[in-house]
């Protein structure tokens, strides 16, 4: 990076390139560092979850076996042996770590399948909710946030602020029930829950998302039915995420609006829509990207509650069942997966910063 210096017109610093010393590409260094931190974080996650489920009064034996089985010492012993619960704690932990490195996440105690299979089965269902939600929420949230910032202090702004607060204060499970009541029970417009009506069977699995897979297989009636089942849960999740986003976008845009360069843009005679679209939006995007990471996090939390109301067999449901059953492999699997997703999201966010703001890019 070369700086152009001021000086008397005669003495101009040349910006001719000097031979650069050989250094690792800064982006690779950055990624390598992040990878190391991620690995450390995931390790920490395993420790925490492992410790949590084991060093506490809860006992997977009592949580998973029926009362009858509990009375039979042979069954209990067999259960313990099967799940390695009779081994010392640290041995269990290292065994688990070893398995992880070979891609074996263990077998879920409640489903009997491998945790990896469970994840493959349930994660796409949640993604089918999360992706449309994020896209819609970002578009709507950014738009409304900008609108409120530009009309700061006026009625639109007040309305938006109150609306956002309302959205943030609404319990997701309650909103789901209300929405279900209105649109399904009273108006009969939407299906009652689940991913597909009983008349249809799921399309051949490609991504695990019914709408996409059905469209890929040409089963348009299935795709349409799956899409209809998406509407209500996505509506609920989007509303809540928009509420979160709008506040951040609004305050970010307000800060930008105070800046001289916005005034300078108007002073050049540029029409308002150009100033808003090119100058305001671009400057305000960095905080928006930041909050998208946060929004995604809260989205995953929200799915736990929303999925239970809509009977949506996704990661949230799985996490809940695993937690209540103290199903260690499942809990670990879910935690690791979620932590991994978070880190990926954060990484994407950081990379996006560099894309948007040249000041960060070049440092």
């Amino acid at each position: 990076m070369t700086t152009v210096h001021d000086g008397e017109p005669g003495a101009v610093t040349t910006t001719a390139s000097r031979p650069r010393p050989r250094r690792a590409h800064p982006l690779l260094v950055f990624l390598a560092k992040r990878l190391a931190i991620t690995a450390g974080l995931l390790l920490g996650v395993t420790v925490v979850t492992f410790g949590l489920v084991n060093v506490v009064p809860g006992d997977p034996v009592t949580a998973n076996l029926s009362d009858q089985a509990l009375n039979d010492p042979a069954t209990v012993a067999a259960f313990r042996e099967k799940w390695g619960l009779d081994q010392p704690l640290w041995a269990q932990y290292f065994q688990y770590l070893g398995n992880l490195l070979t891609g074996d996440l263990g077998i879920s105690q409640q489903t009997g399948r491998s945790v990896l299979d469970d994840l493959v089965r349930y994660v796409p269902a949640t993604m089918e909710l999360a992706i449309p939600t994020m896209v819609l929420a970002l578009l709507i949230g950014t738009g409304i946030g900008m609108l409120a910032a530009v009309r700061n202090g006026r009625f639109t702004d007040q309305l938006v602020r109150i609306g956002a607060l309302l959205g943030l204060s609404t319990p997701p499970f309650w909103l789901s029930l209300v929405v279900l009541y209105v649109f399904f029970y009273k108006l009969g417009l939407a299906p009652s829950g689940g991913r597909l009506s009983t008349a249809f069977s799921p399309p051949p699995t490609v991504t695990g998302m019914y709408t996409v897979d059905a469209a890929l297989a040409g089963q348009w009636d299935v795709a349409w039915d799956a899409a209809q089942h998406l509407v209500l849960p996505v509506l609920v999740l989007t509303s809540l995420t928009v509420a979160l986003l709008v506040r951040f976008v609004r305050s970010a845009m307000l800060e930008v609006l105070q800046q001289d360069y916005i005034r300078a843009a108007y002073a050049k005679g540029l029409p308002a829509r150009v100033v808003l679209r090119r100058h305001l939006l671009r400057a305000g995007l960095v905080p928006v990207v930041t909050v998208s990471g946060l929004a995604f996090a809260s989205l995953l939390s929200g799915t736990v509650l929303v999925e239970s109301i809509f009977g949506w067999p996704g990661l949230g449901q799985y996490a809940y069942r695993s937690a209540t059953a103290l199903d260690l492999p499942s809990i670990l699997g879910v935690s690791l997966f979620v932590a991994l997703v978070y880190t990926l999201v954060n990484l994407t966010v950081d990379l996006l910063y560099g894309l948007i703001d040249p000041r960060i890019r070049l440092s």
């Binding site: 949590l52 489920v53 009064p57 809860g58 319990p171 995953l300 978070y342």
Partner: protein, 304 residues
Amino acid sequence: MTTIAPDPVAPDPKVDRALSRRRWLGRLRGGGSRPIWRQPVTLVALIILGGWLLVALFAPLIAPYDPLAQSPEAYASPSATHWFGTDSLGRDILSRVIHGARLSIPLALAIVSLALLIGGLLGLLAGYLGRLADEALMRLTDLVFAFPQIILAMAVTAAFGPNTRNAVLALVIVSWPVYARVIRSAVLSMRGDDYLNAARLLGVGPVKALRRDVLPNSIGPAIVLATLELGNAVLLLAALSFLGLGPRPPAAEWGSMVALGSQDLSMWWVSVFPGLAILTVVMAFNVLGDALRDRLDPRYAKGR
């Protein structure tokens, strides 16, 4: 440059900082536009909150029925005798909603206070001691942040056994990092200040310096955060009890009441009223927190 007079617009930053601990109190009272209690939305929020506090306080006197008393009038729709109707066991919903306030509000206050205490202390130490302590705190908070709040809370509650005490514990564990981070950055932003260094040079011990100089200046953002987090605590508590991981039934917690109502959609009153209770309480906390933040945190003061 013309030196005409000391520019009154740019005060001396050192003096400014020393005065700022008094300033946030003064700001609360009404520096700037109108005082907090004059703005209409905030006023409404304060009234609502006050109302709920009274309800929580005087619940046994206000509630028409015993919240735990079952009756044969199951699933009665709202009427003159049961304003909010009854649930599947014939219990009066109005009374249960009223008594629910006795659970949600004090528990939320407890959660926030504990988290503030623990997180604030850790953040204070990390910010002041710096270096290793700071790094350790940051990694620890990163670890907690790596889990979605609900999932971590679920795991903790399930692990320790679902009841009120463990739900509170879980939520404290889940929420303390935010306070730690905020207080830590408040402390860090003060470290460069000359008067802190001057105090150190004069031989003022770290504890005294913390208490006298650092603490008053970090209280502002901490209070703002705590008020905002109160609403979140109520929501999380309701979520946990909705999932069956909170106060054990038959306790009248709003979240579990909504869960009960989800069994039969046609009996809408069983879910709607507890949900509205949650909504109004959380909304009131959020509005208040926002108003406080507008007032106390100069970064958000513009663009009211």
